[in-house]
Each structure stands twice: as C-alpha cells, then as structure tokens.
C-alpha cells in the first residue's frame, strides 16, 4: 500500500525554493566535469541517491501493473567510467559500471564492462524486474448481477507477482587475435506467487507457485584462416527447469458436512454455474453450499519439467573474393524435455460426470530438433549495382509423448462417501448401495492413454534483390521473396479404459465383452483426446520488394520500403493471404540544432476467402522535431497516430434462449455452433509528447514534459457484461525536473511525475473503475566528478 502524502508537495516546494536561494554562494559556474585521475586511470563517476514519495488515488492494482514505483530511499543512478590514461592498464584498460533502481524499485539493473587490449573483453549485466500484474479484466468471468448470489470478481484470476532475475556474463579472450575464444553464461529465473484457473465442473481459482529457471552456457571460437574471412564455431547448452506447483487455496465455502470447498470463479446461476441453487445457507461462516454443485475440495498438481537443449552453430563471414560479400551459418539444436512423473489429484465434485476424485499421473517426454542454414551473398557487379541473394532453411520437429493413467471415483454428491468397485460388495445386478454411482457422462474408472503428438515445420525462403545506386544521392532496390512452408501435425493416441459394471453396458462398452467381474475394458484410439489426425499444410508465399533511399542534400534523408505479399494458403484464419507493407521515413536537418522528420508505417493484410473475410490494418503516421539552438534550452516533440483495425467472420453460440437479432445464423456448413458475427476490433491512438529543457542560469536546469495516449475504439462484445475496457482511455504523464547545482559536481535534483490513467469506465462496468492518478516526487542528490 502506498502512503498518502498530502503535504508532500508543500515540503518539496519549500525545500526546493530554499535551495534555490541559498545556492548562489555555493554554486560553481563551471559544471563541466572532466573527471579525476586515480593513479594510472582517469575516472568519471556519478551517483544519484535520494528518496521518492508517492501519492495516488484510484485502482491500486492497475497502478502496480502499469507503474509500480513505490515510496522510499532509492539509488536512482550510478555510473563509473575508468580509463587507463595510456590504454595500457595493469589489469584493465577500461571499466564501466552502471547501476540503477536499487532500494525497492521494480526494475533493477547493473552492467559491468571491463576490457584489456588484446587480452580480454568482459561484460556482465544483471536485471531484476518485479512484475506485479493485476488488470482485473483479464480472464475475468464477468459474472452477471442476475446471478443468485451475485459474485463480482474484482481482480484478475490470472494475476501474478513474479520476480525475474536475468544475468548475462560474457568473456572474450584474445579479442584482437586471429583466434579468439568466447565464453558465456546466462541465467534466468522467474518465480513468485500467481493465480490461475482450472476447469473441472467449475473454474477453480488455483494458487500457482511459479518457478522457472534457465541456465545457458556458451563456448565459442572465432578464427581467421583466410584473409578477410572469419569463421565461428559455437556450442551452447541451455538447461531449463520448470518447478511450478499448483494448489487450490481458495476453499472459502463449506458443504453441509463442514468440508471446505472452492466453488470456482464463475457465478451465473441462471446458466447453472456452478449450479442453479448453490447456496444452502448464506448466514453461516463460511457460507454453506449445496453438495449437488460442482466444487473443489482439494487440488494439487506437480510435474517438474527438465529440458536440455544443446546447440551447435558454425558461421562465417567473408569478403575473400573480390566484390563478393557473404555470410552464412548452420545451426543444429536438439532438445530433450521430460517430466519424470506428472501428478495431479482432484477431489471435489463434478455434477456433470459425478466425478468425486480424479488422479492422473505418468511420465512425459518431448524432443525438439531444429536445424537451420542461412546463406546470404552480395555480388558487387559495378560500384553502383549489386545483386543480393539471401537463402534460409529452417526446420523443426517436435515429437512428444505422454503416458498418463487416470483413475476416477464417482459419487452422487459432494458429500457422498468415496466408493470404488469391489465385486464382493457390489455383486450383480450391481444395484447394491456399495456400488459406485455413475451416469452416462461419467468417464472411465481407470484409463491409460499413450498420446504421441507431432508438430513440424519445414521452411525454405529465398530473397533475391537488385540494388542500384543512381548516384550518391539516390538508390533503390527491387526484389522478390519466396517462402515455402510445410507444416505437419500428427496425433496418435491409444488408450485402455475400464468401466465399472454400472457403466459397462453402454457407451464405449456397448457390444464389448464383459470382464468376469462385470466390468468392461476397451482398447483403441483414446477417448481422452480428440480423434487421431494427420494434417499437412503447404504454404507458398511470393513477395515483391521495393525500396528507395534518397539523400538529396546532406540535410535531407528519405527512405521507403515496400513489400507486397501473396500466399496461396494460410495456416490460421487470421494469417494474411495477401499483405502490403509500406514504410516511409523522412528526416530533415536544416541546422545542426534543428531536426525534424516524419514516418509512415502502413500494413494492410487480408485473408478474405469465403467464410473467413479477414481484413486488418495497422496504420501509423508520425512527425517529430528536436530543437537545441544552444546549451541553454532545447525542445523535443512529436505526434503519432496509430489505427489498428481487424475484422473476421466468426461463428459461436450465444445463450440458451433466442439469439439477439443482430446475429444471423451461421452459414458455415457443419458448424457446431449456430450464430455468426463479424469480430471487429478498432483501436485508434493519438500519442503526443514534448520535452522542454531550459537553463535560466548555469546552475539551474529545468526540464518539463508531457505525453499523452488518447485511445478510442470499439469491438464486438458478445458478453453484455464486458466493458470496452482498454479500448477507451486517456493516459496523461506530465513530468518536471529541477536541477540546482550546489557545488562543483554536486546537484540537488527535484523531479515530479504524474500518472493519470483514465479508462472511460461505464457505470455498468462490474469490475471498474480501473483508473488511477498518482504523483511521484523524487528528491535526490547527484554527486559526480
């Protein structure tokens, strides 16, 4: 919780004003800092430490999701540069170190670079980011108020509070020799509490203790065995550990027998979610719920994933042949991933199938083999004319298999005693009280399935271009890109299912021989998965490429790129069958202190075949300027307009009653759902900013700025409870910084930032408001030399 600091502004204003008046006697005219000599090194250093105060109102969770800057003492920035004066230091020639964000900010960063001429280059960086994420519309069931009871979910069932730590460490030995060695190590951990959901009858809110760790090791060697030619060989080993666990800690209701249960996050009693009459007694603590409703009384899942991915890469670059520049690489990677023992236990009640307990366990193994080869070459035919060819081959295949066994126990209600089939207590005709209860939807009592799934893609692409420089001011290119893809998917699943005698006469057992105890065992394509399939998709894409650059004078720079693509097939309905992409940039710098430019970036795509009718565009237009006539003031500004649009024909089902008149019947033959609509997404964003800096005196620097996102849009909304949400908002961010030089190398800095997020919440929005307004004030001292 952020502290309310209602008097913060007055304190800061007073302090800043006081400093402003007392500093003339202290301030030095010359703020140019040349650093200091420390022995054989020349050193520049700066450190900014201080305190941040925050004061905000509105939605705390959205503030944390977007900003998450808290109150307290901070290391705002620290830099250290050391340079050997004669470039021949004893242990190193140059050293640079940067740190910021320590003391509680969500983003911490450290970077260290050290090098010694001829001997080594070392770089290390460490990044830590804390990701508090809770935007309540994501995965929110948006329960209707007509439900009895009405349960409004006020936060995202998929919220998270994760912390990622990334470290990258690279060492190059003998960097300037003909043979050099590179060593690298990267570590990435991402862990913390988060929420997710799981569906068995109802959507339980699971606590996900997320933990993923990756270690990556690299050994590489570069060698020059030919003039103007470099070869590199790299060996990588990537090792991933996924140790997330899932449990249900949301047991906030009670059955009549006192058993605590989770009723899930979806509450729509009119649509039987979790059932028509879930509450038995609302006056008890906890509230007593019906045992005939779907619920979770216990859930746990574990399945530690271990993935090892060794990769080898051979690459080269050469200008060995006159007028031929070429580069290429071959990469082979083979990943093996496994879960030694996947374990899942559900206890509760699924009213549809009468399941009371489901236990799933078994091993999982997956491989991924990826091979790629690239070869790019430029032939310089004349000083003005070049032929370029780029070839890429990329192939991967992912065969995976799991061997899972699921055993189930059934009951007539959530409070029924768990009973398994026992021929001694459940003799024919299997109607004794000790016989397990099933219904027609009940799954097998014991099911073992082996699923083998395959996904593979074979890609070959070639880009051929002719480049011509008309003169030193104008050049262009024209080319053709061809991409051929074959995507293969295969699914083979084989299962053995045993049904207790009460189910053995129907369903999959119909007509099958019975076991001596009256149960039935069937084998064949598994009922636990979709039907086996073997599908292959071939896509051929052809693109026309055009490009121009112009530099009519040294002050003007223009560039234009265009690609027109046509494909004979698509893999998804929203993948483009045709697209046009245009990019234009202009930059005009009439004076050293004045710069302005424009950008257009327009992407138009479609897959407008029968029954899909997919159209989309992303159009972006922008302009910017920078003015800095003297060191005393500067002004940057810009404006950008982005229009994102998409429409796609979709079919769906909408309620059990009469459909709204706006949705016609689905015209797609064989569609299992009945209604048709045009899924429209329309997002228009105006973004503007300015940043003004002025130095009224040599010891005072004032910087003020502002940026705004103004977004409007609309989309097809199927769920009447769903608000427009992030399609209609304004986000204002003014800021200001006042630097006052107190002494040579000592600056007092006061900075202020304001975050004003205004989502245009409808009054009927069940989960709003999501807006917030926050003041952040940093008071810091910058010491540098």
């Amino acid at each position: 919780m952020k502290l309310k600091t209602s008097h913060l502004g007055w304190w800061i204003t007073g302090l800043t004003a006081a400093l402003f008046f007392i500093t003339p006697a202290l301030a030095q005219d010359d703020q140019t800092l040349e650093g200091k000599d420390w022995g054989d090194y020349h050193v520049n250093q700066s450190i900014e430490v201080g305190w941040r105060g925050t004061s905000f109102t509105g939605n705390n969770d959205v503030y944390d999701t977007f900003v998450n800057l808290g109150q307290g003492a901070r290391l705002f920035n620290q830099t250290l540069e050391m340079r050997s004066k004669d470039h021949q230091g004893l242990l190193f020639d140059t050293l640079s170190l940067t740190n910021f964000g320590y003391g509680g900010d969500p983003n911490n960063f450290s970077m260290l670079r050290i090098s010694k001429n001829k001997w080594y280059d070392f770089s290390a960086n460490f990044r830590r980011d804390r990701n508090l994420w809770n935007y309540d519309l994501l995965a929110n069931p948006l329960n209707p108020t007509t439900s009895n009871p009405s349960v409004i979910i006020q936060s995202s069932p998929h919220s998270m509070a994760l912390t990622r730590r990334m470290g990258d460490y690279n060492l190059t030995l003998l960097p300037q020799s003909n043979i050099r060695v590179r060593l690298g190590y990267s570590r990435n951990t991402n862990e913390g509490p988060s929420l997710t959901t799981y569906h068995v009858g109802t959507e339980a809110l699971l606590f996900q203790e997320f933990k993923a760790t990756t270690n990556n090791y690299q050994v590489g060697i570069d060698f020059k065995v030919l003039p103007r030619t470099n070869f590199s060989y790299d060996q990588y080993l990537n090792y991933y550990k996924g140790d997330s666990t899932w449990t249900d800690n949301n047991l906030i209701y009670a059955l009549p027998n006192g058993q605590l249960v989770d009723m899930g996050v979806s509450w729509d009693t009119k649509n039987n979610s979790p059932c028509a009459k879930p509450i038995v007694n609302p006056t008890t603590t906890p509230i007593t719920v019906s045992p005939k409703c779907s619920d979770f009384s216990y859930y746990s899942r574990t399945g530690p994933v271990r993935t090892a991915s060794p990769t080898e890469q051979l690459s080269f670059q050469s200008n060995y042949f006159k007028n031929v520049d070429m580069a290429g690489r071959v990469v082979y990677s083979s990943s093996g991933s496994s879960i030694a023992d996947f374990n899942e236990l559900f206890q509760g009640y699924e009213s549809r199938t009468l399941a009371r307990q489901l236990t799933t366990s078994g091993p999982v193994a997956i491989n991924r083999t990826a091979v790629s080869a690239d070869y790019d070459v430029t032939f310089t035919i004349t000083p003005k004319f070049r032929i370029v060819d780029e070839f890429r081959f990329a192939y991967f295949r992912i065969p995976g298999q799991n061997d899972l066994t699921t055993s189930a126990l059934f009951g007539s209600s959530a409070t029924a005693t768990l009973v398994g089939f026992d021929p001694a207590t459940c003799p024919p005709p299997y109607t004794a009280k000790a016989c397990p209860v099933h219904n027609a939807s009940s799954e097998a009592d014991l099911a073992t399935s082996i699923s083998s799934i395959f996904l593979g893609q074979d890609t070959k692409a070639n880009t051929f271009q002719l480049e011509y420089d008309f003169n030193s001011h104008l050049g262009g290119r024209i080319g053709h890109r061809y991409r051929h893809r074959i995507i293969d998917q295969r699914n083979v699943a084989y299962g053995t299912s045993t049904y207790d005698p009460t189910l053995a006469k129907g369903g999959p057992c119909a007509g099958a021989p019975l076991n001596p105890d009256g149960s039935c065992t069937v084998s064949g394509p598994s009922t636990q998965t979709l039907a086996n399939f073997d599908a292959s998709t071939t896509i051929n894409e052809n693109s026309l490429l055009l490009g121009l650059w112009a530099r009519p004078t040294d002050k003007v720079r223009l560039s234009y790129d265009q690609e027109w693509m046509y494909a004979d097939n698509t893999f998804t309905r929203v993948s483009p069958r045709q697209f046009q992409h245009y990019k234009f940039r202009s930059d005009y710098k009439p004076k050293q202190w004045l710069n302005m430019g424009t950008t257009f970036n327009i992407y138009e795509a479609r897959n407008n075949v029968y029954q899909v009718d997919h159209l989309e565009h992303t159009r972006n237009y922008g302009a910017y300027f920078n003015v800095a006539p003297t060191d005393r003031w500067s002004l940057d500004g810009g404006y950008n307009y982005t229009s994102i649009f998409s429409q796609t024909n979709i079919c769906f089902i909408f309620g059990s009653g009469a459909p709204p008149a706006v949705f016609p019947a689905c015209t797609i033959v064989g569609s299992p759902v009945t209604l048709q609509g045009l899924s429209i997404y329309n997002n228009k964003m105006n973004y503007g900013y300015f940043d003004f800096m002025v130095k009224p005196t040599k010891r005072v620097t004032l910087r003020v700025g502002y940026s705004i996102d103004d977004v409007t849009g609309n989309t097809l909304i199927l769920n009447p409870n769903s608000p427009t949400g992030p399609l209609d908002y304004k986000y204002h961010r003014p800021f200001g910084t006042l630097d006052i030089a107190l002494a040579r190398g000592v600056t007092w800095r006061t900075s202020w930032g304001y975050y004003d997020y205004n989502e245009m919440d409808a009054s009927t929005d069940p989960t709003g408001p999501r807006s917030f307004r926050g003041n952040l004030v940093n008071l810091s001292l910058v010491y540098s030399f």
Partner: protein, 329 residues
Amino acid sequence: MDSKMKPRRVSAAMTLMIFACLLGTNLITAGTPAQTNPPKPIQDFRGDPADYVGMDTCKACHSDMYDSFEKTPHWKTTLNPSKGPEWQGCEACHGPGKKHVDAMSEAGNEAAKIEAGRKLIFSFKGVPAADISKRCLSCHTYDEEHSNFARQAHNINNVSCIDCHSPHHAKSADFLLREKQPLLCYACHSEVRADFNKPFHHRVNEGLIKCTDCHNQHGGFLTKQLRSTAAQDMVCFKCHTDKAGPFVYEHAPVKTEGCVACHTPHASSNPRLLRRSQVNLLCLECHTLTVDSGAPGTPSFHNQSAKYQACTLCHPMIHGSNANRFFFQ
C-alpha cells in the same frame, strides 16, 4: 466503413509517392554540386605506407579531434604497429594524410589552396553510407553480430555506422553511441516511441530492456533483424522461458506463426500485449470451423452469452501443455 481498406487506393498512393520521391530527389540532386570527396572502393582505401604521416602530425592541427580520439578505444590501434601505419591512429579511418599535410603546409593563407588541401584527406561528410560503413567494417566484422551488415535494413537505407556511433563525440562511452538507447533508436523509429508509451509495454523506457536485446541492429539472418535464442527459437523465449516448451501438446501457431500471432511485441493497449481487447474474440477468429481452417471450431457448449468471457479461464495453458490437449493443465 473504415474496415474496407481500399487497398488499391493505398497501393496507388504509395506508387505515386515513390515516383514523387524519385522525381523530387532527381530534381533536387540535379541542382546539387557533385560530391566533393568521392571515396575510394574499400579494397584500396588503404594506401602505400609511405603516404602515412602518423597521428602526431594530425594532432598538430586537429588537437580537439585528437583529444576526443585519445579517450576512445580506437586509440588502441596505435598500440599495434605490426600491421603498419595504415591500420593505426587517425589515418586508419581517414586514410593516408601525406598529400593533405603537404598541401596544407604549402597553402599558407590562400583559401583556394586550403580548400583543395582539405579534399586530399578522406572526410566522412557527404559520403554514401555504404562506403562509410565499409571503412568501419574493415576492422569490425570479426563476429556473427556484424556478419550480415551489408544486407541489413540500415545499410540498404543509407544509414551508416556513424549515424549511431560517433567516434569523436559519443554521448555514451559504451560503443561510442551518439545517444543512449532507446532514444537513439527513437530518433528514427518514432512510431516505436509511441508503442512503448502504451500502458502495457515491454520495459524499454524503464531501462530494463534494450531494443538491441531483441533486434540485431547490425544485421542478423532473420526478418526484422530479430535475434533468436541459442536453440534457434524465437527471441521472446529468451526471457519467457516457460513458454518455449517443447510441449507434448503445442499450440501450433505459437511455433509456426510466432508469438505475434496473438501478441503485439512492443506494446499494446490490451492486457498481456494481446492483439484484441476481448480474449474470446482472439480465439474465435481462428477457432471457427471453416473449410480450410486447421484450427478446430468451438464446440456447441461454449456459450458466449454470459460466461466464458475469456477462453483462457478454462484453457490457461494456452501456449502449450504436457498433460492436456485442450490446454486445461
């Protein structure tokens, strides 16, 4: 209606723009003086060792440039005399200086002779970007990072090394950059600045991620100059390792079309950088049964009227699952 994009009109407009640019630039260039200092081809810009004067001579007149040069890593070239003077100091980049020095010495105060003398040393001003970059790359091609520079978007759009790096006036000591990231990149890619100011964004402005973490500014082999993981997977998986798999049940588009099938990589107005504000529409756009659609259609019990607001409520393991074909767990 806005949805009808009138692609023909856009195409026509673009074509017109190309011709306008061509015409405009030709008109402008027609009146522009010829280039004053044409560069030599890369193969022969290094001259005879006898034509080199050494950096102390340069320093005598260009002390300000020398002072900045002396603080940069380029000064190290002077420590390695074994390769000859053409690889050392100022002249390693600017070429042999003897003719220039001789001419300037003889010029006295005669402006014409001074001007003529200036043309006898290579200056990077007004030189095509490709030629500037070739000079830099004659030393800096020694790794895969730079290996495809000749074919990358910056080079073919006449953006040279010194548009981002400043050997004499760098603002950032690291790599002698003219400006720190991301401001350096925003200077041209202004639309990306707008992206990263959206509420849901990768933390580039916060300094946690750099543009060059995902894009190889010097080239690379992939479109958009994207980097990849060591295992030749999408660069996204370098940080989002749990989404990389491999999984028994892959959500195929993640691997075949890429994360961008559902997410906008820089930023979005929508949570989780999704392409749509309503998650169920994002799913339904693919999962509607169509003749040639590979994705299965939604079954009849997926009621869109009141519940199932987000498909991921029941299908949370949407990037891939090892236990459930429907991405339940």
